[in-house]
């Protein structure tokens, strides 16, 4: 446990802020630009190897700013440990480097975060919607998206128009 802390301190210095509040696992707040080098380090060089990316998701702090809190859950199979990484992103045009080059499993998880929150992952091989229709215009898990949806009958109307034509 200490080995990882020391290695991170040595490599990244004070740019990583430990998250003390969480009870379930240790975590760090990471500046957006540092995410990809940090993930490369954690997956390939650090004393505790995080071989697997378990989850990528976001929390919408609307109307607060910075609006998005991007959360990565990492898993080390070799030493049975988890790590949480947190990146704060502004609401205007949230973008972050994709980690698909480190963990192939990030592919769909990042697509889902894009689909649901509109966070753009730069360098992702094929960033497109995954759960919502490809031509959908909104981001449903944002807090300003209403629970009942926006114009939920649109698809039916289009289908019906096509049927009558």
């Amino acid at each position: 446990m200490e080995a990882l802390k020391d290695a991170l301190r040595e490599k990244f210095g004070s740019r990583l802020v430990p998250l003390d509040g969480a009870k379930d696992m240790e975590g760090y707040q990471v500046p957006a630009g540092l995410l990809l080098p940090l993930c490369r380090f954690l997956a390939g060089e650090s004393p505790v190897r995080f071989e697997q990316l378990t989850d990528v998701t976001a929390v919408d702090e609307f109307p607060g700013e910075p609006r998005f809190r991007l959360v990565y859950h990492l898993l080390s199979l070799s030493s049975n440990r988890r790590l949480r990484l947190q990146v704060l992103l502004g609401g205007g045009d949230p973008r972050i480097d994709s980690v698909t080059s480190v963990w192939a499993g990030a592919d769909w998880l990042e697509r889902e975060a894009w689909d649901m929150f509109g966070i753009r992952f730069e360098g992702h091989p094929d960033l497109k919607r995954i759960l919502m229709p490809l031509d959908y215009a909104h981001f449903p898990l944002r807090k300003d998206f209403p629970l009942r949806g926006i114009d939920p009958g649109r698809h039916y109307r289009e289908w019906d128009r096509g049927r009558k034509a």
């Binding site: 509040g21 969480a22 009870k23 379930d24 696992m25 071989e51 697997q52 990316l53 378990t54 989850d55 998701t57 929390v59 919408d60 959360v71 859950h73 199979l77 049975n80 988890r82 949480r84 963990w103 192939a104 499993g105 990030a106 592919d107 769909w108 998880l109 889902e112 649901m116 919607r129 995954i130 759960l131 919502m132 229709p133 449903p140 898990l141 998206f145 629970l147």
Partner: protein, 417 residues
């Protein structure tokens, strides 16, 4: 058998493929072999798969959004609809996550009963895999044998919960009710005969030549790739990685039981089949131990923020003579009202993962102090596992895609959420 697989590999090399006229084939979204509403856009060179892109989302219901709009208690029934083949597992996982966040400790009897529900659900889910997986490949007999035991498990669930599917039985801080003696006897009767039944499936499949031909060396994924792709559960263990959250991050009462983690060697469809077969045997072992060691006592936690008061204590209505029930008091009714309308949880966040039948099912819950979650993230195993479909199917025949789909054993309710 390896010889037969070699021969097929040789066939591919001389197969005429100009790579000019690829064919695009839509498998699904309405196709019995896709186990739900999954669409796979397959690019074919002759009969060889060049690319396979799963298209998901047809069953998207916005469960996470609902989780952020409902109180913690109200969301339990929605967890049933994630992996509907092992609903109890999802409910219990969710309740454990909320308990972890709120700092509730459930009594030992409740933990054991949850283990029993978990393992019965796991067996039921693996039976669906064995039955439908074999049916997809053409072995219809296995389906009926597997469904017979699944029916028995559903009858047991009916005895315990009153439902055959979508139980909604778990509660934050406990379970809806204790098991009846009849139900426990039914579980005991099931465990006594189940090992023999697994022998029966193995008799039909494990040494079956056609089953070997269709599964051996098909959909191979090696351990580093599987880990990198984020696979979990039997799909990861099939590739030889001994990772089981019941052992590595024990929850409920799993540290009390003695069982093994079955693993495969090469990571093909057959290994994943063997892992699931052996997991059913291990689950049966856990069930036996849980019944033997089942402690007595309460099933509900002490924490009155989340636990409903006993029904006879509620001051609801008097009888026709105007006499109120003896033990009923107004305070308990107020407590009931407060639990139903939802207790707040202190601001904080928690990630709780359990070994579901399909892999690592995680709930990431962020609380802002109100009675609703600020973020209800469901990390479903099937969603991440499904990414392995394309690398597994690439370079194989179209008919192998069916075997790969079956061996990945995903549920679309959980993929799409």
């Amino acid at each position: 058998m390896a010889g037969a697989a070699e021969m097929r590999k040789v066939e591919f090399t001389w197969m005429p493929g100009g790579h000019e006229e690829m064919m695009t084939l839509n498998v699904g979204p309405q196709h019995p072999a896709t186990h739900g509403v999954l669409r796979i856009v397959v690019t074919l060179d002759g009969e060889v798969i060049v690319g396979a892109e799963p298209v998901v989302g047809y069953l998207h219901r916005g469960k996470e959004k609902m989780g952020e709009a409902l109180t913690y208690h109200q969301f339990i029934v929605h967890c049933d609809r994630l992996d509907y083949l092992s609903s109890n597992l999802n409910d219990i996982a969710y309740c454990e996550a909320v308990e972890k966040l709120a700092g509730i400790e459930v009594p030992p009897r409740c933990k054991y009963l949850r283990v029993i529900l978990n393992e019965l659900s796991r067996i039921a889910s693996h039976l669906v895999y064995v039955g439908t997986g074999a049916l997809d490949i053409g072995a219809a007999t296995v389906f009926f044998h597997a469904w017979r035991e699944r029916e028995k498990i559903y009858d047991i669930f009916d005895l315990i919960t009153g439902h055959r599917m979508n139980y909604g039985f778990a509660r934050i801080g406990g379970l809806q009710a204790d098991f009846s003696g009849e139900a426990l006897a039914a579980v005991r009767a099931f465990t006594e005969e189940f090992d023999e039944r697994v022998d029966g499936y193995e008799y039909l499949l494990t040494r079956n030549r056609i089953w070997w031909e269709r599964n051996k060396d098909i959909g191979v994924i090696d351990a580093p790739t599987a880990v990198n792709l984020g696979l979990s559960g039997p799909n990861l263990r099939g590739s030889g990685v001994a990772r089981d959250l019941r052992v590595h991050e024990p929850y409920a009462a799993y540290e009390d039981f003695d069982f093994e983690i079955p693993v495969g060697t090469v990571g093909d469809c057959f290994d994943r089949y063997m892992v699931r077969i052996q997991e059913m045997r291990q689950s049966n072992r856990i069930l036996e131990q849980a019944l033997d060691k089942l402690p007595g006592g309460e099933i509900f936690a002490e924490d009155r923020r989340f636990v409903l008061p006993p029904k006879e204590r509620l001051l609801t209505s008097h009888d026709h003579q105007g006499v109120y029930p003896e033990k009923a008091v107004m305070e308990e009714l107020i407590a009931q009202f407060k639990v139903i309308t939802g207790a707040g949880i202190e601001p904080g966040e928690v990630y709780h993962a359990v070994e579901a039948s399909k892999g690592e099912l995680g709930f990431y819950i962020v609380s802002d102090g109100s009675n609703r979650a600020k973020r209800m993230r469901i990390r479903s195993p099937s969603f991440v596992n499904l990414q392995a479909l394309a690398p597994m199917a690439k370079g194989r025949l179209l008919s192998d895609l069916i075997a790969v789909i079956a061996s990945l054993d995903f549920v679309l309710g959980e993929v799409d959420r």
